[in-house]
Protein backbone atom coordinates (compact mmCIF):
# COMPACT_ATOMS: atom_id res chain seq x y z
CA UNK A 1 0.00 0.00 0.00
CA UNK A 2 2.76 2.41 0.88
CA UNK A 3 4.54 1.77 -2.36
CA UNK A 4 1.88 3.58 -4.31
CA UNK A 5 1.75 6.60 -2.01
CA UNK A 6 3.49 9.69 -3.14
CA UNK A 7 6.26 11.02 -0.96
CA UNK A 8 6.84 14.50 0.33
CA UNK A 9 9.00 15.41 -2.58
CA UNK A 10 6.09 14.79 -4.87
CA UNK A 11 3.99 17.20 -2.92
CA UNK A 12 6.48 19.97 -3.58
CA UNK A 13 4.30 22.96 -4.36
CA UNK A 14 5.49 25.47 -6.89
CA UNK A 15 3.39 28.01 -5.09
CA UNK A 16 1.36 27.63 -1.95
CA UNK A 17 -2.38 27.81 -2.10
CA UNK A 18 -4.65 29.31 0.50
CA UNK A 19 -6.54 26.04 0.97
CA UNK A 20 -4.77 24.19 3.82
CA UNK A 21 -1.43 24.85 2.16
CA UNK A 22 -2.26 22.11 -0.32
CA UNK A 23 -1.40 22.34 -3.94
CA UNK A 24 -4.05 22.26 -6.60
CA UNK A 25 -3.02 19.24 -8.66
CA UNK A 26 0.75 19.23 -8.16
CA UNK A 27 2.77 16.94 -10.33
CA UNK A 28 3.83 13.68 -8.72
CA UNK A 29 7.05 11.88 -9.45
CA UNK A 30 5.20 9.28 -11.50
CA UNK A 31 4.21 12.02 -13.90
CA UNK A 32 0.61 11.98 -12.67
CA UNK A 33 -1.04 14.83 -10.84
CA UNK A 34 -1.73 14.24 -7.15
CA UNK A 35 -5.24 15.03 -6.17
CA UNK A 36 -6.27 16.77 -2.99
CA UNK A 37 -7.62 13.61 -1.31
CA UNK A 38 -4.22 11.93 -1.61
CA UNK A 39 -2.57 14.97 -0.19
CA UNK A 40 -5.02 15.04 2.70
CA UNK A 41 -4.36 11.37 3.44
CA UNK A 42 -0.61 11.87 3.32
CA UNK A 43 -0.79 14.89 5.57
CA UNK A 44 -3.10 13.12 8.02
CA UNK A 45 -0.93 10.01 8.09
CA UNK A 46 2.09 12.13 8.77
CA UNK A 47 0.46 13.96 11.65
CA UNK A 48 -0.88 10.66 13.09
CA UNK A 49 2.50 8.97 13.03
CA UNK A 50 4.22 12.06 14.35
CA UNK A 51 1.72 12.18 17.22
CA UNK A 52 1.91 8.47 18.04
CA UNK A 53 5.54 7.64 17.57
CA UNK A 54 7.06 11.09 17.97
CA UNK A 55 8.44 10.76 14.50
CA UNK A 56 7.30 9.97 11.01
CA UNK A 57 9.12 8.45 8.07
CA UNK A 58 10.66 11.07 5.79
CA UNK A 59 8.49 10.13 2.80
CA UNK A 60 5.36 11.00 4.72
CA UNK A 61 4.40 14.64 4.62
CA UNK A 62 4.52 15.62 8.27
CA UNK A 63 6.40 18.86 8.25
CA UNK A 64 6.41 21.76 5.96
CA UNK A 65 9.57 21.89 3.96
CA UNK A 66 11.49 24.93 3.01
CA UNK A 67 12.34 24.76 -0.64
CA UNK A 68 12.67 28.47 -0.99
CA UNK A 69 14.81 30.93 0.82
CA UNK A 70 11.73 32.91 1.81
CA UNK A 71 8.52 31.03 2.34
CA UNK A 72 5.91 33.49 1.16
CA UNK A 73 3.19 34.05 3.70
CA UNK A 74 0.33 35.27 1.65
CA UNK A 75 -1.67 36.53 4.59
CA UNK A 76 0.80 39.20 5.59
CA UNK A 77 2.77 39.81 2.42
CA UNK A 78 1.70 42.34 -0.16
CA UNK A 79 -0.43 43.96 2.48
CA UNK A 80 -3.11 46.50 1.83
CA UNK A 81 -2.63 50.08 2.95
CA UNK A 82 -4.75 51.19 5.87
CA UNK A 83 -4.12 54.85 6.64
CA UNK A 84 -3.19 56.62 3.46
CA UNK A 85 -2.18 60.07 2.35
CA UNK A 86 -3.17 61.43 -1.01
CA UNK A 87 -1.19 63.35 -3.62
CA UNK A 88 2.10 65.19 -3.18
CA UNK A 89 3.20 67.79 -5.74
CA UNK A 90 6.75 69.01 -6.23
CA UNK A 91 8.23 71.63 -8.55
CA UNK A 92 11.65 73.16 -9.13
CA UNK A 93 11.82 76.93 -8.96
CA UNK A 94 14.53 79.55 -8.98
CA UNK A 95 15.97 79.06 -5.49
CA UNK A 96 15.33 75.34 -5.12
CA UNK A 97 12.40 72.98 -4.84
CA UNK A 98 8.88 73.52 -3.56
CA UNK A 99 6.61 70.73 -2.38
CA UNK A 100 3.00 70.70 -1.31
CA UNK A 101 0.70 68.11 0.20
CA UNK A 102 -2.45 68.13 2.24
CA UNK A 103 -2.38 66.98 5.83
CA UNK A 104 -5.02 64.29 5.63
CA UNK A 105 -4.76 60.61 6.55
CA UNK A 106 -7.66 58.58 5.19
CA UNK A 107 -8.80 55.33 6.72
CA UNK A 108 -10.43 53.87 3.65
CA UNK A 109 -13.15 56.33 2.74
CA UNK A 110 -13.11 58.03 6.16
CA UNK A 111 -11.01 61.18 6.48
CA UNK A 112 -9.78 60.07 9.85
CA UNK A 113 -6.65 62.08 10.59
CA UNK A 114 -6.54 65.73 9.67
CA UNK A 115 -3.05 66.81 10.76
CA UNK A 116 -0.65 64.34 9.24
CA UNK A 117 2.62 65.98 8.13
CA UNK A 118 3.50 64.21 4.94
CA UNK A 119 6.57 66.25 4.00
CA UNK A 120 9.70 66.00 6.15
CA UNK A 121 13.21 67.42 5.88
CA UNK A 122 15.99 64.86 5.45
CA UNK A 123 19.52 65.91 6.39
CA UNK A 124 20.67 69.34 5.32
CA UNK A 125 19.81 69.16 1.68
CA UNK A 126 16.54 67.33 1.07
CA UNK A 127 12.81 67.09 1.59
CA UNK A 128 10.82 63.88 1.40
CA UNK A 129 7.09 63.85 0.69
CA UNK A 130 5.06 60.66 0.64
CA UNK A 131 1.63 59.51 -0.41
CA UNK A 132 0.25 56.10 0.46
CA UNK A 133 0.49 54.19 3.72
CA UNK A 134 1.44 56.58 6.52
CA UNK A 135 3.01 53.92 8.73
CA UNK A 136 5.33 52.88 5.89
CA UNK A 137 6.32 56.51 5.48
CA UNK A 138 7.17 56.64 9.17
CA UNK A 139 9.23 53.48 8.77
CA UNK A 140 11.12 55.08 5.90
CA UNK A 141 11.78 58.13 8.05
CA UNK A 142 13.36 55.86 10.64
CA UNK A 143 15.64 54.29 8.01
CA UNK A 144 16.61 57.73 6.76
CA UNK A 145 17.14 58.96 10.30
CA UNK A 146 19.68 56.22 10.85
CA UNK A 147 21.29 56.91 7.49
CA UNK A 148 21.67 60.62 8.19
CA UNK A 149 22.92 59.90 11.68
CA UNK A 150 25.74 57.68 10.43
CA UNK A 151 26.50 60.20 7.73
CA UNK A 152 26.82 62.97 10.32
CA UNK A 153 28.94 60.78 12.56
CA UNK A 154 31.68 60.74 9.92
CA UNK A 155 32.02 64.46 10.61
CA UNK A 156 34.25 64.91 7.61
CA UNK A 157 32.64 67.68 5.63
CA UNK A 158 30.87 65.26 3.27
CA UNK A 159 27.10 64.94 3.41
CA UNK A 160 24.44 62.92 1.63
CA UNK A 161 22.78 65.01 -1.04
CA UNK A 162 19.33 64.56 -2.60
CA UNK A 163 20.66 62.37 -5.42
CA UNK A 164 22.21 59.92 -2.97
CA UNK A 165 19.09 59.76 -0.83
CA UNK A 166 16.91 59.29 -3.90
CA UNK A 167 19.02 56.36 -4.98
CA UNK A 168 19.06 54.88 -1.50
CA UNK A 169 15.28 55.05 -1.34
CA UNK A 170 15.05 53.42 -4.76
CA UNK A 171 17.15 50.52 -3.51
CA UNK A 172 15.02 50.15 -0.39
CA UNK A 173 11.71 50.24 -2.28
CA UNK A 174 12.87 47.89 -4.99
CA UNK A 175 14.26 45.36 -2.58
CA UNK A 176 11.06 45.35 -0.56
CA UNK A 177 9.00 44.83 -3.71
CA UNK A 178 11.18 41.89 -4.66
CA UNK A 179 10.33 40.26 -1.37
CA UNK A 180 6.62 40.77 -2.03
CA UNK A 181 6.50 43.07 0.99
CA UNK A 182 6.45 46.60 -0.40
CA UNK A 183 6.43 49.87 1.44
CA UNK A 184 3.15 51.17 0.10
CA UNK A 185 4.29 54.69 -0.78
CA UNK A 186 4.96 56.99 -3.66
CA UNK A 187 7.80 59.21 -2.62
CA UNK A 188 8.82 62.65 -3.81
CA UNK A 189 12.39 63.57 -3.00
CA UNK A 190 13.52 67.14 -3.60
CA UNK A 191 16.67 68.98 -2.63
CA UNK A 192 19.44 71.41 -3.42
CA UNK A 193 23.14 70.77 -3.01
CA UNK A 194 25.98 72.95 -4.23
CA UNK A 195 23.54 74.96 -6.32
CA UNK A 196 22.21 71.85 -8.06
CA UNK A 197 18.44 71.41 -7.76
CA UNK A 198 17.13 67.86 -7.68
CA UNK A 199 13.60 66.50 -7.80
CA UNK A 200 12.74 62.82 -8.13
CA UNK A 201 10.07 60.22 -7.51
CA UNK A 202 10.24 56.63 -6.25
CA UNK A 203 7.18 54.42 -6.51
CA UNK A 204 6.28 51.42 -4.35
CA UNK A 205 7.60 49.13 -7.07
CA UNK A 206 10.98 50.78 -7.03
CA UNK A 207 10.53 52.68 -10.29
CA UNK A 208 12.37 55.98 -10.07
CA UNK A 209 12.86 59.02 -12.22
CA UNK A 210 13.76 62.70 -12.05
CA UNK A 211 11.88 65.64 -13.46
CA UNK A 212 11.30 69.39 -13.17
CA UNK A 213 7.80 68.89 -11.74
CA UNK A 214 6.30 65.76 -10.24
CA UNK A 215 3.15 64.57 -8.55
CA UNK A 216 1.91 61.36 -6.98
CA UNK A 217 -1.46 59.66 -6.83
CA UNK A 218 -4.31 61.77 -8.12
CA UNK A 219 -1.86 64.56 -8.72
CA UNK A 220 -0.61 62.59 -11.71
CA UNK A 221 -3.97 63.00 -13.38
CA UNK A 222 -5.09 66.39 -12.13
CA UNK A 223 -1.96 68.40 -11.30
CA UNK A 224 0.56 67.23 -13.89
CA UNK A 225 -1.42 68.58 -16.89
CA UNK A 226 -1.55 72.00 -15.21
CA UNK A 227 2.17 71.85 -14.41
CA UNK A 228 3.02 70.79 -17.93
CA UNK A 229 1.34 73.80 -19.43
CA UNK A 230 2.13 76.44 -16.81
CA UNK A 231 5.48 75.52 -15.26
CA UNK A 232 8.38 77.61 -16.41
CA UNK A 233 12.06 77.77 -15.65
CA UNK A 234 13.24 79.89 -12.71
CA UNK A 235 9.93 81.01 -11.25
CA UNK A 236 10.25 83.07 -8.13
CA UNK A 237 8.78 81.91 -4.84
CA UNK A 238 5.42 83.69 -5.18
CA UNK A 239 4.82 82.46 -8.71
CA UNK A 240 5.71 78.93 -7.71
CA UNK A 241 3.39 78.96 -4.71
CA UNK A 242 0.57 80.31 -6.86
CA UNK A 243 1.08 77.48 -9.33
CA UNK A 244 1.08 74.92 -6.54
CA UNK A 245 -2.08 76.40 -5.04
CA UNK A 246 -3.79 76.17 -8.38
CA UNK A 247 -3.01 72.46 -8.51
CA UNK A 248 -3.96 71.96 -4.87
CA UNK A 249 -7.32 73.62 -5.44
CA UNK A 250 -8.14 71.31 -8.32
CA UNK A 251 -7.15 68.36 -6.19
CA UNK A 252 -9.29 69.63 -3.33
CA UNK A 253 -12.33 69.87 -5.54
CA UNK A 254 -11.88 66.62 -7.38
CA UNK A 255 -9.96 64.19 -5.11
CA UNK A 256 -12.31 62.80 -2.52
CA UNK A 257 -9.48 61.90 -0.11
CA UNK A 258 -8.04 65.40 0.04
CA UNK A 259 -8.84 67.88 2.78
CA UNK A 260 -8.71 71.65 2.88
CA UNK A 261 -5.55 71.89 4.94
CA UNK A 262 -2.25 72.07 3.11
CA UNK A 263 1.39 72.40 3.85
CA UNK A 264 3.92 73.93 1.55
CA UNK A 265 7.56 73.11 2.07
CA UNK A 266 10.58 74.59 0.39
CA UNK A 267 14.21 73.55 0.21
CA UNK A 268 16.94 75.93 -0.87
CA UNK A 269 20.70 76.11 -0.46
CA UNK A 270 20.10 77.65 2.98
CA UNK A 271 17.97 74.77 4.22
CA UNK A 272 14.46 73.40 4.52
CA UNK A 273 11.37 75.32 5.62
CA UNK A 274 8.00 73.70 6.19
CA UNK A 275 5.33 76.33 6.40
CA UNK A 276 2.42 76.00 8.82
CA UNK A 277 -0.75 74.46 7.47
CA UNK A 278 -3.35 76.68 5.88
CA UNK A 279 -6.55 76.41 3.89
CA UNK A 280 -7.60 77.56 0.47
CA UNK A 281 -10.75 79.43 -0.32
CA UNK A 282 -13.21 77.35 -2.21
CA UNK A 283 -16.21 78.42 -4.19
CA UNK A 284 -19.37 76.40 -4.29
CA UNK A 285 -21.77 79.04 -5.53
CA UNK A 286 -22.16 77.63 -9.01
CA UNK A 287 -25.55 78.09 -10.55
CA UNK A 288 -25.88 74.35 -11.13
CA UNK A 289 -25.59 73.83 -7.37
CA UNK A 290 -28.31 76.37 -6.53
CA UNK A 291 -31.76 75.05 -5.80
CA UNK A 292 -30.93 71.39 -6.29
CA UNK A 293 -34.57 70.36 -6.03
CA UNK A 294 -35.48 72.43 -9.08
CA UNK A 295 -35.40 69.53 -11.49
CA UNK A 296 -35.85 66.69 -9.09
CA UNK A 297 -38.70 67.02 -6.65
CA UNK A 298 -37.92 65.59 -3.24
CA UNK A 299 -34.21 65.41 -3.66
CA UNK A 300 -31.81 66.78 -1.08
Amino acid sequence: MFGSLETTLDLLPSFSSPFLGLELLPWGRRGRPIGVPTQVVMRALGQFLHGCLGWAPPWVNHEQEMYFSTWIDWETSCRYPYVTGTSVIGIKYKDGVLMAADTGGSYGSTLRYKSVERIKPIGKHSLLGASGEISDFQELLRYLDELILYDNMWDDGNSLGPKEIHNYLTRVMYNRRNKFNPLWNSLVLGGVKNGQKYLGVVTMLGAHFEDKHVATGFGNHLAVPILRSEWKEDMNFEEAVKLLEKCLLVLLYRDRSSINKFQIAKITEEGATIYPAYSLKTFWGFSAFQNPAKCAEGTW
Binding site: D156, G157, N158, L160
Partner: protein
Protein backbone atom coordinates in the same frame (compact mmCIF):
# COMPACT_ATOMS: atom_id res chain seq x y z
CA UNK B 1 65.92 46.56 14.66
CA UNK B 2 67.08 43.19 15.84
CA UNK B 3 65.36 39.96 16.71
CA UNK B 4 64.02 39.84 20.23
CA UNK B 5 61.66 37.76 22.30
CA UNK B 6 58.65 40.02 21.69
CA UNK B 7 58.49 39.84 17.95
CA UNK B 8 56.99 36.42 17.28
CA UNK B 9 53.36 37.41 17.54
CA UNK B 10 51.49 40.45 16.37
CA UNK B 11 49.50 40.28 19.58
CA UNK B 12 52.56 40.57 21.85
CA UNK B 13 53.55 43.96 23.17
CA UNK B 14 57.18 44.70 23.93
CA UNK B 15 58.03 46.24 27.32
CA UNK B 16 58.66 49.50 25.51
CA UNK B 17 55.10 49.47 24.20
CA UNK B 18 55.84 48.44 20.62
CA UNK B 19 54.30 45.83 18.35
CA UNK B 20 57.31 44.53 16.51
CA UNK B 21 55.40 42.51 13.94
CA UNK B 22 53.64 45.67 12.81
CA UNK B 23 56.95 47.48 12.58
CA UNK B 24 58.41 44.64 10.57
CA UNK B 25 55.45 44.92 8.22
CA UNK B 26 56.34 48.56 7.73
CA UNK B 27 59.89 47.49 6.91
CA UNK B 28 58.42 45.43 4.10
CA UNK B 29 57.00 48.65 2.64
CA UNK B 30 60.48 50.17 2.71
CA UNK B 31 61.84 47.23 0.74
CA UNK B 32 59.43 47.76 -2.12
CA UNK B 33 60.34 49.98 -5.06
CA UNK B 34 59.51 53.62 -4.75
CA UNK B 35 56.14 55.28 -5.19
CA UNK B 36 55.45 59.00 -4.94
CA UNK B 37 52.27 61.04 -4.83
CA UNK B 38 51.68 64.77 -4.96
CA UNK B 39 48.63 66.96 -5.20
CA UNK B 40 47.51 70.39 -6.19
CA UNK B 41 44.15 71.84 -5.34
CA UNK B 42 42.47 70.15 -8.28
CA UNK B 43 44.69 67.23 -9.30
CA UNK B 44 46.66 64.40 -7.75
CA UNK B 45 49.55 62.65 -9.48
CA UNK B 46 51.00 59.24 -8.61
CA UNK B 47 54.25 57.82 -9.94
CA UNK B 48 55.98 54.50 -9.26
CA UNK B 49 59.19 52.79 -10.21
CA UNK B 50 58.47 49.45 -11.84
CA UNK B 51 61.10 46.84 -11.39
CA UNK B 52 60.84 43.70 -13.45
CA UNK B 53 61.85 40.42 -11.81
CA UNK B 54 64.09 39.69 -14.79
CA UNK B 55 64.60 40.99 -18.30
CA UNK B 56 62.31 38.23 -19.52
CA UNK B 57 59.34 39.09 -17.30
CA UNK B 58 56.88 41.94 -17.36
CA UNK B 59 56.94 44.77 -14.86
CA UNK B 60 55.15 44.63 -11.55
CA UNK B 61 51.84 46.41 -11.51
CA UNK B 62 51.94 49.02 -8.78
CA UNK B 63 49.25 51.49 -9.77
CA UNK B 64 45.60 50.47 -9.62
CA UNK B 65 42.51 52.34 -10.64
CA UNK B 66 39.94 51.96 -7.88
CA UNK B 67 37.17 54.08 -9.36
CA UNK B 68 36.87 56.99 -11.75
CA UNK B 69 37.76 59.35 -8.96
CA UNK B 70 40.26 57.26 -6.93
CA UNK B 71 43.46 55.36 -7.64
CA UNK B 72 46.22 53.81 -5.56
CA UNK B 73 49.95 53.29 -5.85
CA UNK B 74 51.46 50.56 -3.69
CA UNK B 75 54.86 49.70 -2.27
CA UNK B 76 55.72 46.46 -0.51
CA UNK B 77 54.12 43.07 -0.96
CA UNK B 78 52.34 43.55 -4.27
CA UNK B 79 50.09 40.56 -3.63
CA UNK B 80 48.72 42.25 -0.52
CA UNK B 81 48.40 45.42 -2.55
CA UNK B 82 46.39 43.67 -5.23
CA UNK B 83 44.02 42.17 -2.68
CA UNK B 84 43.50 45.51 -0.96
CA UNK B 85 42.88 47.22 -4.30
CA UNK B 86 40.14 44.69 -4.93
CA UNK B 87 38.65 45.54 -1.55
CA UNK B 88 38.80 49.25 -2.33
CA UNK B 89 37.15 48.70 -5.70
CA UNK B 90 34.40 46.71 -4.05
CA UNK B 91 33.72 49.42 -1.50
CA UNK B 92 33.48 52.05 -4.21
CA UNK B 93 31.18 49.95 -6.35
CA UNK B 94 28.89 49.13 -3.45
CA UNK B 95 28.62 52.76 -2.46
CA UNK B 96 27.96 53.75 -6.03
CA UNK B 97 25.22 51.14 -6.33
CA UNK B 98 23.30 52.35 -3.29
CA UNK B 99 23.89 56.09 -3.60
CA UNK B 100 24.81 56.60 -7.26
CA UNK B 101 27.52 58.94 -6.12
CA UNK B 102 31.30 58.49 -5.75
CA UNK B 103 32.50 57.37 -2.34
CA UNK B 104 34.29 60.29 -0.63
CA UNK B 105 38.02 59.49 -0.50
CA UNK B 106 38.30 60.20 3.22
CA UNK B 107 35.69 57.55 4.01
CA UNK B 108 37.30 54.99 1.73
CA UNK B 109 40.63 55.50 3.41
CA UNK B 110 39.13 55.05 6.89
CA UNK B 111 37.59 51.73 5.86
CA UNK B 112 40.94 50.59 4.52
CA UNK B 113 42.69 51.69 7.70
CA UNK B 114 40.16 49.85 9.86
CA UNK B 115 40.72 46.72 7.78
CA UNK B 116 44.47 47.03 8.31
CA UNK B 117 44.02 47.60 12.04
CA UNK B 118 42.09 44.35 12.42
CA UNK B 119 45.16 42.49 11.24
CA UNK B 120 47.22 44.03 14.00
CA UNK B 121 44.93 42.74 16.68
CA UNK B 122 44.23 39.11 15.79
CA UNK B 123 46.59 36.30 16.66
CA UNK B 124 45.64 34.32 13.57
CA UNK B 125 46.30 37.15 11.13
CA UNK B 126 49.31 39.08 9.98
CA UNK B 127 49.50 42.76 9.07
CA UNK B 128 49.30 43.65 5.37
CA UNK B 129 52.82 44.20 4.10
CA UNK B 130 51.96 47.02 1.75
CA UNK B 131 51.75 50.79 1.97
CA UNK B 132 49.20 52.49 -0.22
CA UNK B 133 49.19 56.00 -1.58
CA UNK B 134 45.51 56.73 -2.19
CA UNK B 135 44.89 59.57 -4.63
CA UNK B 136 41.38 60.79 -5.14
CA UNK B 137 39.03 63.60 -5.89
CA UNK B 138 35.75 64.32 -4.18
CA UNK B 139 33.49 67.24 -3.37
CA UNK B 140 35.94 68.74 -0.91
CA UNK B 141 38.79 68.76 -3.43
CA UNK B 142 41.80 66.66 -4.32
CA UNK B 143 43.26 64.36 -1.66
CA UNK B 144 46.36 62.25 -1.19
CA UNK B 145 46.44 59.77 1.69
CA UNK B 146 49.05 57.29 2.84
CA UNK B 147 47.74 54.05 4.38
CA UNK B 148 50.19 52.19 6.56
CA UNK B 149 50.23 48.50 7.53
CA UNK B 150 49.77 49.65 11.10
CA UNK B 151 46.28 50.87 10.33
CA UNK B 152 47.25 54.52 10.40
CA UNK B 153 46.52 56.94 7.62
CA UNK B 154 47.52 60.53 7.01
CA UNK B 155 46.69 63.09 4.43
CA UNK B 156 49.62 64.57 2.55
CA UNK B 157 50.36 67.33 0.11
CA UNK B 158 53.12 65.10 -1.22
CA UNK B 159 54.69 61.84 -0.06
CA UNK B 160 57.04 59.09 -1.13
CA UNK B 161 57.29 55.48 0.05
CA UNK B 162 59.47 52.49 -0.77
CA UNK B 163 63.20 52.10 -1.15
CA UNK B 164 65.29 55.28 -1.42
CA UNK B 165 62.15 57.31 -0.94
CA UNK B 166 64.01 59.68 1.36
CA UNK B 167 65.64 61.26 -1.67
CA UNK B 168 62.25 61.86 -3.23
CA UNK B 169 60.88 63.21 0.04
CA UNK B 170 63.73 65.70 0.27
CA UNK B 171 62.96 66.98 -3.20
CA UNK B 172 59.23 67.17 -2.43
CA UNK B 173 59.86 69.00 0.84
CA UNK B 174 61.67 71.68 -1.08
CA UNK B 175 58.95 72.11 -3.65
CA UNK B 176 55.65 71.28 -1.94
CA UNK B 177 54.56 74.84 -1.20
CA UNK B 178 54.23 75.50 -4.90
CA UNK B 179 52.16 72.40 -5.62
CA UNK B 180 48.76 73.85 -4.78
CA UNK B 181 48.78 76.07 -7.83
CA UNK B 182 50.55 73.69 -10.19
CA UNK B 183 48.95 72.64 -13.41
CA UNK B 184 48.56 68.91 -14.03
CA UNK B 185 51.56 68.85 -16.41
CA UNK B 186 53.80 70.47 -13.83
CA UNK B 187 52.58 68.00 -11.21
CA UNK B 188 53.50 65.09 -13.43
CA UNK B 189 56.92 66.60 -14.12
CA UNK B 190 57.51 67.03 -10.41
CA UNK B 191 56.47 63.43 -9.83
CA UNK B 192 58.91 62.25 -12.47
CA UNK B 193 61.75 64.28 -10.96
CA UNK B 194 60.95 62.84 -7.54
CA UNK B 195 61.07 59.35 -9.01
CA UNK B 196 64.34 60.18 -10.68
CA UNK B 197 65.80 61.07 -7.29
CA UNK B 198 65.10 57.58 -6.03
CA UNK B 199 66.92 56.00 -8.94
CA UNK B 200 70.35 57.14 -7.79
CA UNK B 201 71.91 57.83 -11.12
CA UNK B 202 70.09 55.17 -13.15
CA UNK B 203 68.53 56.56 -16.28
CA UNK B 204 64.87 57.32 -16.01
CA UNK B 205 62.93 55.98 -18.94
CA UNK B 206 59.20 55.62 -19.41
CA UNK B 207 59.54 51.84 -19.44
CA UNK B 208 60.58 51.64 -15.80
CA UNK B 209 58.05 54.05 -14.36
CA UNK B 210 54.28 54.39 -14.26
CA UNK B 211 52.53 57.71 -13.85
CA UNK B 212 48.82 58.25 -13.19
CA UNK B 213 46.72 61.31 -12.58
CA UNK B 214 43.24 62.15 -11.33
CA UNK B 215 41.57 65.51 -11.05
CA UNK B 216 38.74 67.85 -11.88
CA UNK B 217 37.45 66.87 -15.31
CA UNK B 218 39.96 64.04 -15.51
CA UNK B 219 39.02 60.55 -14.31
CA UNK B 220 41.83 58.45 -12.90
CA UNK B 221 43.99 57.10 -15.68
CA UNK B 222 47.52 55.90 -16.24
CA UNK B 223 49.39 58.11 -18.66
CA UNK B 224 50.73 56.42 -21.77
CA UNK B 225 54.40 55.68 -22.18
CA UNK B 226 54.99 58.07 -25.06
CA UNK B 227 53.75 61.16 -23.22
CA UNK B 228 55.84 60.18 -20.24
CA UNK B 229 58.95 59.77 -22.35
CA UNK B 230 58.41 63.22 -23.84
CA UNK B 231 58.10 64.71 -20.38
CA UNK B 232 61.23 62.91 -19.25
CA UNK B 233 63.08 64.38 -22.24
CA UNK B 234 61.91 67.86 -21.25
CA UNK B 235 63.16 67.32 -17.73
CA UNK B 236 66.56 66.10 -18.90
CA UNK B 237 66.87 69.16 -21.11
CA UNK B 238 66.11 71.38 -18.15
CA UNK B 239 68.76 69.68 -16.05
CA UNK B 240 71.50 71.22 -18.13
CA UNK B 241 70.50 74.62 -16.76
CA UNK B 242 72.73 75.83 -13.89
CA UNK B 243 70.19 76.58 -11.18
CA UNK B 244 68.91 73.01 -10.93
CA UNK B 245 70.53 71.50 -7.86
CA UNK B 246 71.09 67.84 -7.48
CA UNK B 247 70.02 66.44 -4.16
CA UNK B 248 72.55 64.51 -2.20
CA UNK B 249 71.37 61.14 -0.98
CA UNK B 250 70.85 61.45 2.75
CA UNK B 251 71.62 58.26 4.61
CA UNK B 252 68.57 56.88 6.26
CA UNK B 253 69.73 57.92 9.69
CA UNK B 254 66.69 56.98 11.69
CA UNK B 255 66.94 56.07 15.33
CA UNK B 256 66.44 52.29 15.37
CA UNK B 257 64.75 52.44 18.75
CA UNK B 258 62.07 54.89 17.75
CA UNK B 259 58.74 53.31 16.96
CA UNK B 260 57.87 54.19 13.40
CA UNK B 261 54.16 53.65 13.83
CA UNK B 262 53.40 57.25 14.69
CA UNK B 263 55.11 58.49 11.56
Amino acid sequence: MFRNQYDTDVTTWSPAGRLFQVEYAMEAVKQGSAAVGLRSRTHVALATVNKAASTLSSHQRKVFKVDDHVGVAIAGLTADGRVLSRYLRNECINHNFVYEAPLPVGRLVVRLADKAQVCTQRSWKRPYGVGLLVAGLDESGAHLYYNCPSGNYFEYQAFAIGSRSQAAKTYLERRFEAFDKCSPEELIKDALIAIKETLQGETLTSSICTVAIVGVGEPFHIIDQQTIQEMIDTIEAREESPYYERTIEIQDGRNPDAAPMEI
